[in-house]
């Protein structure tokens, strides 16, 4: 008790307890965080060419809707989901494939051929034939897929 400033046996034990406790907490805490956020960090690994239909079905200057069922794996479940893609061509050789998912809040847009515009029912968004924003809140044009034609079959890249 004469030397209060000394690092006592008791101080050492307290320090060791905190240090070991801290190490265990870190050893548990870091994996725990990785464990929770892990699936969110996984990239879209399966970008493949998906056949969506015959290119001859695409009407000239009129976005044509193609629907394809694809298998999608989320966690341990493989689900069949429907992919809806509008394909536009101006010359019958070059094709543009647009997602029907509105770039505002992901509702589904529809092509209204009378008005020659895409219309989204959720917040009155309007896109033109090429997917450019005409009116409403969307921050960017409709998303496009990489597209290719092989022996009259249309393929888009996605997953």
């Amino acid at each position: 008790m004469e030397e209060n400033k000394r690092f006592t046996r008791r101080d050492f034990m307290a320090f060791a307890t905190w240090a070991i406790g801290g190490l265990i907490s870190l050893g548990m805490g870091i994996p725990a965080v990785a464990y929770v956020i892990g699936p969110a960090l996984k990239g879209r690994e399966n970008q493949e060419w998906i056949r969506i239909g015959s290119a001859s079905k695409v009407e000239l200057n009129n976005p044509t809707l193609f629907k394809t069922k694809i298998l999608k794996q989320t966690g341990w479940i493989v689900n069949e989901t429907e992919l809806s893609i509008y394909v536009l061509t101006n010359n019958g050789r070059d094709y543009v494939a647009m997602s029907n998912v509105c770039t505002h809040l992901a509702c589904r847009v529809r092509w209204i051929s009378d008005q020659e515009q895409f219309f989204c029912p959720c917040h009155n968004a309007v896109f033109d034939k090429a997917g450019e924003v005409v009116d409403g809140p969307p921050p960017r044009p409709l998303d496009r897929y990489e597209v290719k034609v092989e022996e009259d079959q249309l393929f888009v890249r996605g997953g």
């Binding site: 994996p31 725990a32 464990y35 699936p39 341990w76 479940i77």
Partner: protein, 222 residues
């Protein structure tokens, strides 16, 4: 800064007195066998933390249980570690509980005035066994399925009420989605609540009454 904050909080919460009576309390001169209770408590904390983490991915239905467990083990980052800690931690918790109990028996630490502490400890062991029994079914693999088939059948062997107990445990005549769901509910709600209440009481008594000295040959009552 930290000290000022500590004083500020102490004036309002009185935490220092609580801290001191828990961690700086006087104890007799004891040996390493007296750490078994704390070790058991540590495994309980481990089970709670890893158990909560496992529920983030686990799904307690026959068509998803095994797949979700497999997903945790093979796909999720550190999933193997979290599941492994929960799996081996369960065994460690049972072993340490029993060793702790053996120490209390051999040192006669269950005697007056610590009988209630002892009773809560006995119930804690039962709760721990309950955790082991219900948790074993959750991966829903062959081992889990047949272990629970046999386990519930053993309960069914009790004279008179056996059949009824068997049916209540299984939620019907045989193991099914109902069995899995109720084992899960018991494992993550009923037993944890019981465990926390019993641990609180157990710890309160250990601190309030104080722990017993190592018995000595020929020692007189103080």
């Amino acid at each position: 800064m930290a000290e000022k904050l500590g004083i500020w909080l102490d004036e309002r919460l009185g935490w220092r007195g609580i801290w001191e009576s828990i961690f700086l309390r006087k104890i007799p001169k004891v040996n390493w066998a007296y750490t078994l209770g704390s070790a058991t408590l540590f495994t309980a904390v481990n089970q709670i933390v890893t158990g909560i983490l496992l529920t983030i991915y686990y799904v307690p239905t026959p068509d998803h249980a095994w797949d979700s467990v497999n997903y945790i083990t093979t796909e999720v980052t550190f999933g193997w570690l979290i599941r492994g800690l929960h799996h081996y931690g369960a065994s460690a918790m049972v072993v340490l509980s029993v060793l702790h109990m053996v120490r209390v028996i051999f040192y006669g630490a269950y005697k007056f005035p610590r009988e209630v502490t002892w009773f809560t400890g006995v119930f804690l062991l039962l709760v721990t066994m309950g955790f082991g029994f219900t948790g074993y079914l959750l991966p829903w693999d062959q081992k889990a399925y047949w272990a629970t088939t046999v386990g519930t059948q053993i309960a069914g062997a009790a004279p008179g009420v056996g059949e009824t107990i068997l049916k209540i445990m299984r939620g019907g005549d045989e193991l099914s989605a109902i069995t899995l769901a109720r084992f899960y509910g018991t494992h993550v709600w009923v037993l944890p609540v019981a465990l926390l209440l019993l641990i609180s009481l157990h710890m309160y008594l250990v601190i309030k009454i104080g722990i017993s000295d190592v018995p000595k040959k020929g020692a007189k009552n103080e």
